[in-house]
């Protein structure tokens, strides 16, 4: 017998895989006296243990002698609790969603063809799958600090790599940039005093939003800080929409009418959502501000 591998799986479950040849049988609960003796050959054992050390008795056909293997269980700390919780959630997802929509997931497993690309903030409160109800297969999603799209001339970023894939390979029909209330990234942007000298990653990243900050300061400086931030959150979305136009392959698709660009703002203080669409033909001829259409407000 060769012990092939020990896979420490979540929580107290430990799976052993052994190199027997022919017969596969699953042992029942091995603790205590629930052994089946005789000609049992084991290829996989799943064991439940409540003790900190696990003693395993393995009966082998060829030797007819028990062998003891001692395995240290992972410590009882948050790590195993986290894995236990994630395991339960995954199994619930599998039974409630995956198995009940098996045909859909089968199609999806072959390829994805989402109609939407969504750029949203990494904030834990604003996942687009939750707040806008995108189901598996519907939206290709990028999430970063403050849902920013840097312009083409800034060079490579994780956001524009994803844009290139979504627009040129997946051929999404819509790009939706979703901002939100009380955004920590925008607050950081508005609070920065002397960005050029800042050594933090956050400062280096949020300076993509400097044009939005300047515009906010020029028209909303009479408002208090929180209101200015709210203004900047929306201004930054529009700046990102304009930055999208700096990518030639995006502009090409807009010209052909194969792509639409939208902005969205989720306010979780009163659960409202505002959406608007970039009016491409008007923006093409304008250097000042942004032209939008189809503005809607839901609350």
């Amino acid at each position: 017998m060769v012990l092939r591998s020990i896979l420490l799986s979540p929580a107290s479950h430990i799976t052993l895989s052994m190199g027997f040849s022919d017969i596969y049988s699953m042992a029942p609960n091995i603790l205590g006296s629930d052994w089946r003796s005789g000609d049992m050959r084991l290829t996989r054992i799943r064991v439940t243990s409540k003790n900190s050390k696990l003693r395993l008795k393995v009966i082998m056909e060829s030797f007819r002698l028990p062998k003891e293997i001692t395995i240290e269980k992972p410590k009882e700390d948050g790590t195993t609790d986290d894995f236990r919780r994630m395991k339960k959630r995954f199994l619930d997802f599998k039974s409630d969603i995956y198995m009940r929509n098996a045909e859909h997931f089968n199609r999806l497993s072959e390829n994805q063809s989402p109609k939407f690309m969504v750029i949203a903030c990494a904030d834990s409160r604003v996942c687009p799958s939750k707040i806008l109800g995108f189901e598996p297969g519907e939206a290709f999603v990028v999430r970063n600090v403050a849902n920013m799209v840097p312009p083409h001339e800034n060079g490579p970023s994780e956001t524009n790599a994803a844009l290139e894939f979504a627009v040129n390979t997946l051929l999404v029909e819509n790009i939706l940039v979703v901002g939100h209330s009380r955004c920590g990234g925008i607050q950081a942007l508005m609070s920065l005093q002397n960005e050029a000298n800042s050594s933090s990653f956050i400062a280096n990243w949020v300076r993509v939003g400097n044009p939005a900050k300047s515009k906010t300061r020029s028209i909303a400086s009479h408002l208090d800080f929180d209101q200015q931030c709210k203004h900047c959150e929306k201004e930054s979305i529009n700046r990102s929409l304009l930055n999208l136009l700096s990518y030639p392959w995006i502009e090409e698709k807009l010209k052909q009418g194969k792509l639409s660009i939208h902005g969205g703002y989720y306010d979780f203080t009163d659960c409202s959502f505002e959406k608007w669409t970039l009016d491409y033909t008007k923006n093409r001829h304008s250097n000042t501000g942004i032209s939008v259409k189809n503005r809607e407000f839901w609350s």
Binding site: I131, G137, P150, P156, A162, F201, C271, W298
Partner: protein
Amino acid sequence: MPPHPVVDPPNPDLTTRRSKMAIDPCEEAISGLKKLLSEKKELTAEAAAKVRRITSELASATDKTAERIRAGFDHFKKENFEKNPVLHGELAKGQSPKFMVFACSDSRVCPSHVLNFQPGEAFMVRNIANMVPPYDKTKYSGIGAAIEYAVLHLKVENILVIGHSACGGIKGLMSIPDDGTTKSDFIEDWVSICKAAKAKVQSECKDLDLADKHTFLEKEAVNISLGNLLTYPFVREGVLKKTLALKGGHYDFINGSLELWNLNFNLNPVTSI
């Protein structure tokens, strides 16, 4: 920083979740008709033309962007936001997620579905192939900004990097020629973050078929990203002090399975000689 909320997120067991997904009926019909066309080769030319015409009529009827996201928002408001007023009241003041999650942008693998993360639970970064570049203030600094915010400001306790099956980004990485020539503006540069994993696959997995090589690379790339997390001093410090745990994962949507693992990192006490 805003105060941390003290309320637990909604119990995923009690939150009403659609078990029958709200798949657009038009999309289902189009998909069914396309399948019919490809499978039933014996369809007469006339019947095939009719099927194509119906498919294109249906396709034009599905251009209902605003309606689609409105329906999703209304469902969230009714079934989640309004049913958990205490939680959402606290979240309006601030967030204190225990998790930071790196997941792929792929439309099929959102952790809010697969692991049912509720609002407030996970600070989530999504990019192509769920990659974490090493510490660099100038290149790909957006990732560093997210990690810095999560670890230093939100004080998350876990960072989970979760990969998945049939990952287009990983396939792209495998396909980059050995001479390094690229066809894209940004994609190949991005996925090359995990080129060390590709080198490992090429040397250790010669006997595997291509699909298995991809799977191996999907998981090994997660490990590269976990290692890259340790190049951020604030992450390393958290891991050594045991205030931060790093975890890897792989979601296989073809077989409906999930693997999770820990990264263990320790520095033993220094011995002076």
